[in-house]
């Protein structure tokens, strides 16, 4: 079994143990997924502090909704889907708090960069180019290329079909290359 398959099996086992009432399983799950989920939330919020708030909020929701996880589904996609929805809810919550979303381009936090692209340009150039992509496309690209989710799983997170998720990621990649080469200015 490959790494992704191993991780999927391990996360499913942890989720099943957590559903059975094992607190340690929750801690291990948090330990394994907090980093990737935080990276994902940073790419969505473009605000490091807010991403940290939403990370905790995501795991609160994971706890409340733990009975909705089914062992036949991907635990990673399930948790990322919760993070995605927590982010969407935070838009409404932010409007209640009169907080403004996002930061200016020159204040971007360190968002994850797809590993295959690091050779194309300096990291800050890539980060800025990523920030200029349409939100849904950037999200699909990062979920697939950085978080290692399949397009089926990306679709489940974004609430679209696998094909639509693949198209979003593909378009994002083309636009990103154009931006790096200076065509997309």
């Amino acid at each position: 079994m490959d790494d992704a398959g191993d991780q999927r099996k391990r996360l499913t086992e942890l989720m099943v143990a957590y559903q059975a009432g094992d607190a340690m399983a929750f801690e291990k799950l948090y330990g394994e997924l907090a980093g990737p989920v935080l990276g994902y939330l940073r790419s969505l919020t473009r605000d490091a502090a807010r991403a940290e708030d939403l990370l905790q909020e995501t795991f609160f929701h994971v706890h409340r909704a733990r009975h909705t996880f089914h062992p036949e589904r991907s635990a990673k996609a399930w948790i990322f889907a919760i993070a995605h929805n927590v982010f969407l809810m935070s838009h409404r919550a932010a409007s209640r708090l009169s907080r403004h979303e996002g930061l200016a381009e020159n204040e971007l936090p360190d968002v994850p960069v797809p590993p295959g692209l690091e050779a194309l340009a300096a990291r800050d150039v890539l980060t800025r180019a990523l920030a200029r992509l349409p939100e849904k496309q950037r999200e699909a690209l990062l979920l697939h290329h950085v978080q290692g989710l399949s397009f089926q799983e990306v679709g489940a997170v974004q609430g679209v079909t696998a094909l639509a998720a693949k198209l979003r990621s593909h378009r994002a990649m083309i636009q990103l290359r154009d931006l790096i080469r200076g065509k997309g200015r």
Binding site: E57, A65, A77, W78, F80, A81, M89, S90, G155, T161
Partner: protein, 229 residues
């Protein structure tokens, strides 16, 4: 970064305070079986209290019972999608939902047209109004009873996409209720069917949508309160 990735005490305490074992929810089709049981029960009630439509012999088995079955089945498909949308990463995409709603609307129109073509039904003085409010009220009432079951199933999943789930659930309830009420209403004029029966389906969809929006607003307000601490 390491500090951020350490399990926060507040979260650890919240989890420890409520760590009872939970049973995973069954798959959406299995949960929708509870809704499927409603169809024969509601049909029996309508037939016992209101009676079978007068033109049933003229319509034949398919246009009387078959269309009821098809409409109820389509409604159930929408309910399955609603239950899938309620679960995080449940696989119900917006594209599937839009397609299912479009098919449901087409089915409703097609059923009305086929029925009208087969039977002139009862002649009413003014097809825009006559019998309409009664049909609307009874279809909506029937729909509300099944919508209650659907709402319990959707909200038990602490829905992440409550608006979409409720929209689909409301449309499903409307379609199922109209399918059952079709066994009784013998006014086949398209104006009556589309305005009052279609209107009941839309009303149920809107009621469910409002419930979904209210849930999302409440969740957002709670999140705002937690984030502002």
């Amino acid at each position: 970064m390491e500090n951020v990735l350490k399990l926060p005490d507040e979260l650890r305490r919240a989890v420890a305070a409520d760590l009872l074992p939970v049973k995973p929810l069954a798959s959406p089709p299995r949960r929708a079986l509870a809704v499927a049981v409603w169809v024969p029960l509601a049909a029996l009630l309508v037939l016992a209290v209101l009676g079978l439509r007068h033109d049933a012999a003229l319509l034949g088995g398919f246009l009387t019972w078959g269309t009821t079955f098809l409409e109820a089945t389509l409604g159930l498909v929408l309910v399955v999608l609603a239950l899938a949308a309620a679960v995080p990463g449940g696989g119900a995409s917006r594209e599937h939902a839009a397609l299912a709603l479009a098919v449901a609307a087409l089915a409703l129109g097609n059923q009305a047209w086929l029925t009208r073509a087969a039977s002139a039904g009862a002649t009413v003085p003014n097809p825009w109004i006559s019998n309409g409010p009664v049909c609307f009220a009874l279809t909506t009432l029937l729909g509300l009873s099944v919508l209650t079951i659907i709402a319990v199933l959707v909200f038990r999943a602490t829905p992440q996409r409550a608006t979409l789930a409720c929209l689909l659930g409301g449309a499903g309830a409307g379609l199922m209720a109209d399918g059952v009420y079709h066994l009784h209403c013998w006014v086949t004029d398209l104006r009556h069917v589309l305005l009052w029966h279609g209107g009941a389906v839309i009303a149920l969809t809107l009621v469910a949508l409002a419930a979904g929006l209210a849930w999302e607003r409440r969740e957002s307000a709670r999140m705002a309160a937690r984030l502002s601490r």
